[in-house]
């Protein structure tokens, strides 16, 4: 349904030309992100999966089962559901990039912001930032759910004022969502497909660990700890010093920066040198 078009005109007089820079690109990508219904759907799914699984665990395993899980692994009860949410969030990051090419929206994006690096950096800032915040919030809800259930049924609970717990709660799922979401988005630039990017992200995490069975102890003690998932465990304090997956925090942060840096460089080469199709 169209109403009658106004008298043909370009409209108002040309306004003062302000030069849109990174802030304009970030603002555009932020509004685009929330204007895509799939964003809300996947975010709801992410929260639903992460919190929902813990609700089910509380309902069906209230008390003894939950306490047993927490006894075996300090954070297992809290983070069990949230790990599924990380994978959903990787799809969100990958789709935010891939939808540009799938829908043809890239035409408008790269005419409005011809400096394509600004668009990509805006996207990874949004995905990374949102992952950090959303992950921390989900973790806090999961702590409240699981520890509340344990407290009600008289089992020992973890306390947030314990610094060794606070760091994993605030960082583990948040850094996981942020880092893996960014990697998914950068891989989507390379493959131009959200599901392909998610699959590649999963392979980056799993393959080095799977190969450990075949490549011997030296490999096992060096390579797998540099996978994105292991880096997240080290940054958030979940990995215990001396374990195969452990890296000191400075090296873990460096590892995360290397992963982002390498994939960002590859994505920029693909994005800047190739056609926007």
């Amino acid at each position: 349904m169209t109403t009658h078009a106004a008298e043909p005109s370009a409209g108002t007089e040309r306004g003062p030309a302000s030069s849109p820079g990174y802030a304009a690109a970030l603002s555009a990508e932020w509004h685009k992100f929330w204007a895509l219904p799939v964003t809300r759907t996947v975010l709801l799914a992410t929260v639903g999966i992460t919190v929902g699984i813990n609700i089910l665990a509380v309902l069906f395993g209230a008390g003894s089962n939950l306490a047993e899980v927490q006894r075996k692994g300090e954070y297992d009860a809290i983070f069990f559901g949230a790990l599924f949410g990380v994978w959903a969030f990787i799809y969100l990051g990958a789709n935010f990039v891939a939808s540009e090419f799938r829908t043809g929206m890239a035409d408008y994006t790269f005419v409005a912001t011809p400096r394509r690096s600004r668009v990509l950096i805006s996207k990874i800032l949004i995905v990374g930032g949102l992952g950090l915040v959303l992950g921390a919030l989900i973790s806090l809800v999961d702590v409240a759910l699981t520890q509340g259930a344990l407290a009600i049924t008289g089992y020992p609970t973890l306390r947030l004022n314990d610094p060794t717990l606070l760091r994993p709660v605030l960082l583990y799922i948040g850094v996981g969502m942020g880092l893996q979401g960014i990697l998914g988005g950068l891989l989507a630039v390379l493959v131009r497909n959200a599901f392909g990017a998610v699959a590649l992200t999963i392979l980056l995490n799993l393959l080095p660990v799977v190969f450990a069975k075949f490549f011997g102890e030296a490999y096992t003690r060096t390579v797998p700890r540099w996978t994105p998932g292991a880096i997240v465990e080290s940054v958030s304090g979940v990995a215990k010093p001396g374990s195969d997956g452990y890296l000191p925090i400075s090296l873990a942060v460096l590892g995360a920066a290397i992963w982002i840096g390498v994939l960002l460089a590859l994505a920029l080469i693909r994005l800047l040198r190739g056609d926007a199709r």
């Binding site: 349904m1 169209t2 109403t3 009658h4 078009a5 106004a6 043909p8 005109s9 370009a10 409209g11 108002t12 007089e13 040309r14 306004g15 030309a17 302000s18 030069s19 849109p20 304009a24 690109a25 603002s27 555009a28 990508e29 932020w30 509004h31 685009k32 204007a35 895509l36 219904p37 799939v38 939808s99 829908t103 043809g104 929206m105 890239a106 035409d107 408008y108 994006t109 790269f110 005419v111 409005a112 912001t113 011809p114 400096r115 040198r273 190739g274 056609d275 926007a276 199709r277």
Partner: protein, 319 residues
């Protein structure tokens, strides 16, 4: 002004655009014509920096688009009505584009009003008709009130009212001093809208033609005449103008000559023929200047440059 200089684009072994050079000046509507697959869209994408040229360059107001401080205020673009995300509302689509250009949100409502989509702002793009999506694309192009417009087939899917509106809009934009490059398959529409046309075929420039050249060529066009007494008129014409070139283009009632038959006379104006007929007392039933249309010119120029041509048969091999 849009400048395209020796622009070339190769996709593997296929050369889509080949050494193409032309200008689309400020204050003019430049029609960009060519058969399907001629390279029009690829050329437009290279002008906008969306595709990288294999050779040559394209500039808008002397600069690559990425070097403009405010790209959306420099160029308005409609490449494909389907480039807006189908799950977004029209308003949300325009708002994110406006944000990218540091353009106030109020301008979004303004351009929706301008293109006649005021009441459809909250509709999802995917639920809109092709005509509505074209209008949304034009609204997007108008957002930054730019000095240059690049529009690929903007009247596809529009109703007659919409076609007239776009024609008037393009002429007005050019009259305001802006450069308008517009591609279309509708020759009759281009003839009414464009000030000049750039014709390409198989990626190469075939012709760059001002519409005034087309008007000039009409003065040398043949005149179609249907008369009662053909012999009397021809005698008089030859007596006055000497050797006159005459064709008998089609038989009437099975005859190529005689009363009521049709002649095509070259080298004389309708006035000269009409006055001569009046002087000899010959009745004229039809006197038409066979002005070449843009379509005639286009077909002649691109005859050997079309990649995809249907056979003459309407039924093919079906028996």
């Amino acid at each position: 002004m849009i400048e395209v200089e020796r622009l070339t684009k190769r996709f593997g072994g296929l050369t889509a655009v080949n050494d193409l050079t032309f200008r689309a000046e400020d204050g003019l509507v430049t029609g960009f014509l060519g058969p399907n697959g001629a390279g029009k869209t690829t050329t437009m994408r290279m002008i906008l920096g969306l595709d990288s040229p294999s050779a040559g360059w394209a500039r808008i107001d002397g600069k690559l688009l990425r070097d403009h401080s405010s790209p959306l205020r420099s160029v308005g673009v409609l490449l494909n009505a389907d480039s807006a995300a189908p799950t977004m509302t029209a308003w949300a689509h325009l708002r994110w584009v406006a944000r990218a250009g540091a353009i106030p949100d109020a301008r979004v409502d303004e351009v929706l009003e301008l293109v006649g989509l005021r009441t459809a702002g909250q509709r999802k793009v995917g639920t809109m008709s092709l005509g509505m999506r074209q209008r949304l694309g034009i609204a997007t192009a108008l957002l930054g009130d730019p000095g240059t417009f690049i529009l690929d087939e903007p009247i596809n899917g529009l109703d007659p009212d919409g076609v007239l509106w776009v024609r008037t809009l393009l002429k007005k934009l050019a009259a305001e001093g802006r450069a308008v490059l517009v591609s279309s398959h509708l020759m009759s529409e281009m003839e009414l809208t464009a000030d000049k046309v750039v014709v390409i075929g198989q990626g190469r420039l075939v012709a760059e033609l001002a519409m005034s050249d087309l008007e000039d060529s009409a003065h040398r066009a043949p005149v179609r005449v249907r008369v009662a007494e053909q012999a009397a008129l021809l005698d008089a014409l030859r007596r006055i103008y000497g050797d006159v070139k005459i064709e008998y283009p089609e038989p009437v009632h099975g005859r190529r000559s005689g009363p009521g038959s049709i002649l095509r006379i070259e080298g004389l104006t309708p006035e000269e023929i009409g006055d001569t007929a009046a002087a000899t007392g010959t009745a004229i039933y039809e006197l038409t200047l066979e002005r070449p249309t843009l379509e005639d010119v286009f077909m002649r120029l691109t005859h050997n440059a079309a990649d995809y041509v249907a056979s003459d048969s309407t039924t093919g091999a079906l028996q």
